[in-house]
């Protein structure tokens, strides 16, 4: 019996990383919950839509304690997306998953649904998001109290510009990897070379090698002054030289994703 292999790759697997705020309750739990309530009274929309990770390393509540704590937080409209520092036996399937290998980050969580900008929180974005109940209260208290009636106000974090600028051509066999942002090459990318970027790739020269963009951002684009590329990829979708429109070879182009397909147009 012969089976016909499906020509389309229908499942794509990606890696993603997110910044989350960590709540680390400390015993006695009742006092901690009181402080949390006081915080929420001052800035009620603070946790709205914000993914929260619960760090139980200090509290060590045990199985029932975890269930109670999640219930307490749910009553306060705090959505927990993951749990750290807990024994696997305390968590059942309905609870948020156990997270391992988290890294300390100093940037506040990213854009949130229906967030409106607000001027005074940039100062707090450099605060390690570990214990909002105690240390960042002074900064957050600066939030205008009128926030109580309006839609939740949260500032987007200041974008740290992180693009890599290369002044020299990328030679055959070289591999440029920059997951933090855009890559700009002032020169050509040789056949047999690769440029891998988290954001967009801009090549002020001829692209003869591979450009792999958008490993962090599906809105990334690839630009070049002369298309002779071997392979172009954005966010996991790729296009080899044979699939590229023949009339665009040798032209200045930009490539981007529309839904599930890569679109190329003359620049």
């Amino acid at each position: 019996m012969t089976t016909v292999a499906s020509p389309r790759h229908s499942i794509r697997f990606h890696g993603r990383s997110y910044h989350a705020m960590v709540l680390a309750p400390e015993p006695p739990l009742a006092n901690w919950l009181d402080e949390l309530d006081a915080w929420l009274a001052r800035s009620p929309g603070f946790f709205f839509g914000r993914p929260v990770v619960l760090d139980l390393a200090v509290l060590q509540p045990g199985k029932q304690g975890v269930a109670d704590l999640l219930q307490n937080l749910a009553e306060r409209n705090i959505k927990v997306m993951g749990i750290e520092g807990a024994e696997p036996s305390w968590l059942d399937f309905a609870m948020p998953p156990l997270l391992l290998s988290g890294r300390q980050a100093s940037v506040m969580p990213d854009e949130l649904p229906s967030a409106t900008t607000e001027a005074c929180t940039p100062a707090s974005s450099s605060n390690p998001p570990s214990d909002p109940a105690s240390h960042s209260a002074p900064e957050a208290a600066a939030a205008p109290s009128s926030a109580a009636d309006s839609a939740p106000v949260v500032a987007p974090p200041p974008q740290h510009p992180n693009s890599l600028l290369l002044d020299n051509p990328v030679r055959s066999g070289q591999c440029i990897v920059h997951p933090e942002g855009d890559v700009i090459v002032v020169g050509s990318v040789a056949s047999g070379a690769e440029v891998i970027a988290g954001g967009s790739i801009h090549i002020y020269g001829t692209l003869r090698g591979r450009a792999i963009a958008g490993s962090r951002d599906a809105r990334a684009r690839i630009f070049c002054r002369k298309l002779e590329a071997e392979l172009l990829s954005i966010d996991g979708l790729y296009m080899v030289a044979e699939d590229m429109p023949a009339h665009l070879r040798g032209q200045p182009i930009q490539v981007w994703l529309e839904g599930d397909s890569m679109v190329m147009a003359q620049d």
Binding site: P169, R171, S172, Q174, G187, S188, A190, S191, G192, R208
Partner: protein
């Protein structure tokens, strides 16, 4: 101050050994003290092209391993007294070379000679990376065809990462030597033309050596083309390239074989 020059390419068979011999002889006839080192251990050819294959007693491996002194291994050329050769071993392979051994030999040669020219083997492995390691100047030999150009690009990338100069943050001065250039075939589009190669490789052009049967004749006789037939087109191109290495600013032209009147009337080939 002595300069260390490596003649490299990535691709094999493009004219590294021929060019090493020709340029070395051209620099030596202009009065400089030149030593040529063959780094192609196990597949040595520089001694054949120089006509010294019957006088090889000690070689580079012997000196690196301390079996012989440098002066015992160096072979002076009979035609040009300022030109010497340090041959490679034919019986061993490149694993016998050590980085420290090569570094000390090159340091010793820099004291005695004006130009130390290293003939690199083909490839990107240990032999090639050792040959380029201590270079101040690199000549990248390329044929005007696609596989040679891509391999040369790879080698240029390695020159910027695997040399002592690159590790210190300085740059190796790179020059392109376009060899086996056939203007007729380039005109027909069968070979890349000079502009295409320069656009892909983006390094300054040292010279263009035309394809010529004189090269094979010279190597059969065991003499560099610049000594065997200095009036031939490739030899003239090598002499110009040597002048440019010495700092003269000459325009790059492609010399052609001069034909007399009868040669032009009756000497046409059918192809």
């Amino acid at each position: 101050m002595a300069k260390v020059l490596v003649v490299t390419s990535g691709k094999g068979g493009v004219g590294k050994t021929t060019s090493t011999a020709a340029l070395g002889a051209a620099l030596a006839t202009a009065g400089k003290n030149v030593v040529l080192i063959d780094f192609d251990v196990g597949l040595r050819n520089l001694d054949l092209v120089m006509g010294a294959e019957r006088r090889v007693v000690y070689d580079l491996i012997n000196v690196v391993q301390g079996d012989a002194k440098l002066a015992q291994a160096l072979i002076r050329d009979k035609r040009v007294p300022t030109l010497s050769l340090l041959p490679a071993s034919q019986t061993r392979d490149k694993d016998a070379l050590s980085d420290d051994g090569v570094a000390s030999i090159i340091a010793e040669l820099k004291e005695k000679f004006d130009w130390v020219i290293c003939d690199s083997p083909a490839g990107i492995e240990r032999g090639a990376t050792l040959a380029m390691r201590h270079a101040d100047i690199a000549i990248v030999v390329t044929n005007p065809e696609v596989s040679s150009v891509r391999d040369s690009d790879r080698i240029i990338g390695l020159l910027d990462s695997k040399t002592v100069r690159a590790e210190k943050g300085e740059r190796v001065e790179k020059h392109l030597l376009l060899t086996r250039f056939d203007a007729v075939r380039a005109g027909r589009g069968e070979m890349l033309n000079v502009g295409d190669v320069l656009e892909i490789l983006s390094i300054p052009l040292l010279g263009i050596i035309p394809e010529s049967s004189e090269v094979l004749r010279a190597s059969n006789l065991g003499s560099p083309i610049t000594l065997n037939n200095p009036a031939s087109a490739p030899a003239r191109a090598y002499f110009d390239a040597a002048k440019r290495l010495n700092g003269e600013a000459l325009d790059v032209t492609i010399p052609s074989d001069r034909k007399g009147l009868f040669g032009k009337l009756f000497g046409r080939r059918a192809a």
